[in-house]
């Protein structure tokens, strides 16, 4: 049985790298061309690393590993990311 989670699980490691919230960005799979929200990737991990796979074709789109020296990031499975400009929701 393979346990997997959602792209939501990538939010923490990516928050260390991107100034924008990355999990709501649109990402396009290099293998099959499917566009999806990063939060909707199928994520395996967290150890040895987080592997975010395309929900359409299961190829990996993004990989993140946190090691003692820092974070390793592989965006090679994605053709592009689309970060939409968002208005900050007021926090009460």
């Amino acid at each position: 049985m393979s346990e997997h989670r959602d792209g939501n699980a990538l939010a923490g490691p990516l928050a260390d790298i991107f100034t924008a919230e990355a999990t709501t960005a649109q990402v396009r799979c290099r293998a099959c061309g499917l566009s999806t929200t990063l939060a909707q990737l199928v994520v395996y991990g967290p150890e040895p690393g987080l592997v975010g796979r395309c929900p359409g074709c299961t190829e990996y789109v993004i990989r993140v590993a946190t090691t003692p020296s820092g974070t390793w990031l592989d965006l090679g499975g994605a053709t592009s990311f689309h970060f939409t400009s968002t208005v900050d929701v007021p926090i009460r």
Binding site: E3, G7, N8, A11, T24, V89, R92
Partner: protein, 233 residues
């Protein structure tokens, strides 16, 4: 850590005072990082269970068999301890309280935690958006936040709440114990007053996938269903 209270035999709510916490959205999570003296680190994600109270946030931790982080947080961590917390995280699995669409919440076990955050935010803001929670638990003793949900559901304009029991049901329950079934969700979604509901499903991976499939089969649109899988069965 400013507080720890048992919700069930295996679930504890921890209160954490985070200086300069500027609030969060209902459904967001934090990452908790523990460091051993030899440098070994373990990071786990925990959903925020309630709106922030000034700088105090709450997470509810289900102790897992053999879970090195969850067992530490429920059994060893003490009031006054310092923990490393990163957050708030994730803007996808969040309820937008300005959206008037009715909301269907489907939880398996401790998957109720981020959904409770939404229910509490709705209650605090005194919003009338129709909310219906379906919470699948093993036994009546496993109802995390059971008393509070019962109280909220009894209020005028409160959320409606249905518990489903997979192993042991209370004597008054007519539904035979068992896993989530298609008609469990048909009942629930019809109670969200007709408009297209937004659905949030959270729980173990297998539960979330079954629930999502039931909702799709019941005619819900994929783009109105948001999921958060915890991993596990």
């Amino acid at each position: 850590m400013t507080g720890s209270r048992a919700e069930t035999a295996t679930a504890h709510t921890l209160s954490l005072r985070v200086d300069e916490w500027s609030g969060h959205l209902p459904g967001q999570h934090v990452d908790v990082r523990l460091t051993a003296p030899d440098g070994y680190q373990a990071v786990r994600s925990y959903s925020l269970a309630a709106p922030a109270d000034d700088c105090v946030i709450e997470i509810t931790v289900q102790r897992l068999p053999g879970g090195e982080v969850s067992a530490f947080l429920t059994d060893i961590a003490m009031i006054g301890d310092e923990l490393e917390v990163r957050g708030p995280l994730g803007n996808w699995f969040v309820w937008d309280q300005d959206d008037p669409s009715p909301v269907l919440l489907v939880a398996g076990g401790s998957g109720v935690v981020p959904l409770m955050s939404m229910i509490r935010a709705r209650d605090e803001a005194d919003i009338q958006t129709p909310f219906h929670l379906i919470h699948s638990v093993r036994t009546p003793q496993d109802r995390i936040y059971g008393d509070e949900l019962t109280r909220l559901a009894a209020q005028a304009g409160g959320p409606s709440v249905t518990w489903l029991y997979t192993r042991t049901a209370p004597p008054t329950e007519t539904r035979p114990p068992g896993r989530l079934r298609q008609n469990d969700l048909d009942d629930g979604s019809s109670r969200t007053s007709g408009a297209t509901p937004t659905c949030f499903i959270c729980g173990p991976t297998g539960f979330v996938e079954e629930a999502a499939n039931h909702l799709l089969a019941a005619g819900h649109h994929a783009d109105r269903i948001r999921t958060e899988r915890f991993g596990g069965r």
